[in-house]
Symmetry: C2
Subunit: 351 residues, 2 copies
Amino acid sequence: MNPTHDDVSDAPFLKACRGEAPPFVPVWLMRQAGRYQAEYRAIRERVSFLELCRTPDLAAEVTVFAVRQLGVDAGIIFADILLLLEPMGAPIAFNKEGDGPQILKPVRDAAGIDALVADVDVGATLGYVLEAIRKVRAELPKVPLIGFAGAPFTLASYLIEGGGSKNYVLTKTLLYKDPGAFRALMEKLARATVRYLNAQVEAGAQAVQLFDSWAGALGPEDYREHVLPHMKAIVAGVRPGVPVVSFGTGTGAYLGEVAACGAPVIGVDWRVDLGEAARQMPASVVAVQGNLDPVTLFGPVAEIKRRARALVDQMRGRPGYIFNLGHGILPHTPVDHVRALVDEVHEYSAR
Amino acid sequence: MNPTHDDVSDAPFLKACRGEAPPFVPVWLMRQAGRYQAEYRAIRERVSFLELCRTPDLAAEVTVFAVRQLGVDAGIIFADILLLLEPMGAPIAFNKEGDGPQILKPVRDAAGIDALVADVDVGATLGYVLEAIRKVRAELPKVPLIGFAGAPFTLASYLIEGGGSKNYVLTKTLLYKDPGAFRALMEKLARATVRYLNAQVEAGAQAVQLFDSWAGALGPEDYREHVLPHMKAIVAGVRPGVPVVSFGTGTGAYLGEVAACGAPVIGVDWRVDLGEAARQMPASVVAVQGNLDPVTLFGPVAEIKRRARALVDQMRGRPGYIFNLGHGILPHTPVDHVRALVDEVHEYSAR
């Protein structure tokens, strides 16, 4: 859509984050810069995933390109949730495709947790992310830019398991056997995350999102006891006035707990009835973000549009709605389908 | 526990399935016969997973052994949800560990679906399962025996994807692009499943469970439209008076849809608040089954007991409660922890 605002703070995405009524439903898409784009793949022919993250010019380029190619209402800085683990003392590695991340020295006991650095000097160690943010802001001054971080449970699981996991046996076993050590780990991650998010805000990000991809491995009681306090600490620590989006997957059966973190925007995955989720939210939540099944984008365009319209209809009359997928865009997703989705959300919701 | 009943139909598990109050909370555990047991592994040294399934003496032996070793209140016949696909026309294979199943000729279009056999002659093709059931019944006449089948969405996904899947892109794409073909596939699977379950009942199973391990890949609307009608057809097709347990994973955000199939018992995974789930159930549901996180069994015994008691307390005063895990027992689970769990549920709930 052509900008309808002179000042970025009046952009539809930021209005929705404040619960104000924008002229149309703003839309951005998780992993909107990624392998599904030929231009992204061309850059990745030249540099590894981590090099891309660490080269501000390139990270800014793919961030800006996605915004322009898709016509979305917000950018999200190109980075990875695990980058923060390195200055904390846990080096990471990625396979060639940029997935299958590995923690080279997993952290599995109190001694390993003690050795982690919480008071990360973000400027000195993750300055490349901040530099990329500044570049995107200069390039797209009227488009809101989202900073982000991994939520502490997801980061803790990576640290403990050493990589991806099916059952999170090591993570949960630590939680059962040594809840004090687990709490210490979560507190360190939360502290480091607050510093990281505020540095991104300082550099120009106008909103921040927490990604809790793995929180859904826990039941509601474990979430309440072992995750929620740390989510609250992060939300409370982010600079006042900056909207925080809390997004988790697989947590649809206990969204009330998830929303209790105090974040004004809650992102939900596609396994949730969006209207029902919105109705269940506490008063602290001014906007809901989600939740088209990312696989929908492999279907016929007419079906994509039908499903997009159904979501917009479900949320009509609620100012705080941000259209998104229920998870990240998948590799091999047809780009023209993504563009058709964005256009449909804009056109249909503006009526 | 020592039998408290002369007739198997008065067994605590079957009482709970009817919503009657048993003297203690009955317990059985998904995958209670499996790799975590040394005795099971010893048998698997000699035969492959499929050979074990297809040898009635051995399938009966591991089924009975689990009941005796753990002191649980029901057996579940040792078999695999994919066995039914073979007589339907889709040969299967397993890797050495007995997981990572493969469909040798995936079914991805209308022609493939047309070629599938729905009216399976269960006696002629899966007689080994029926024979194993008869053997278990003869060996444990006072212990209820559960028959089972895969739910149609899970079976359809295996058929279409050709094995396990992360995103179910092929399955969902078929559903979007050719909903008629997808429905025909689901109808065939449902018809074959009804025949299979009733043959198990005929052979002596006193209850049957549907496993929908993958239904949680769908959002609530797709579940309602593309899965629920077929679940209803199966529940309606099972011989009257035989309790059907419907268990799914990842469906906690739309349990109302899941419970609408009409099954009297709903099994829930560990991501759900058990008491809240029970309160939400429609009147057709007389019992709820679940839902301890299987990873809990790796924790300290005191913590296992504490969590088991918390579930029993949540369900106190509700007759229809069957204790189970929220998913199958994992490999490497300590057997003595499993026994401690079963004992605790019995002793604590009998007070």
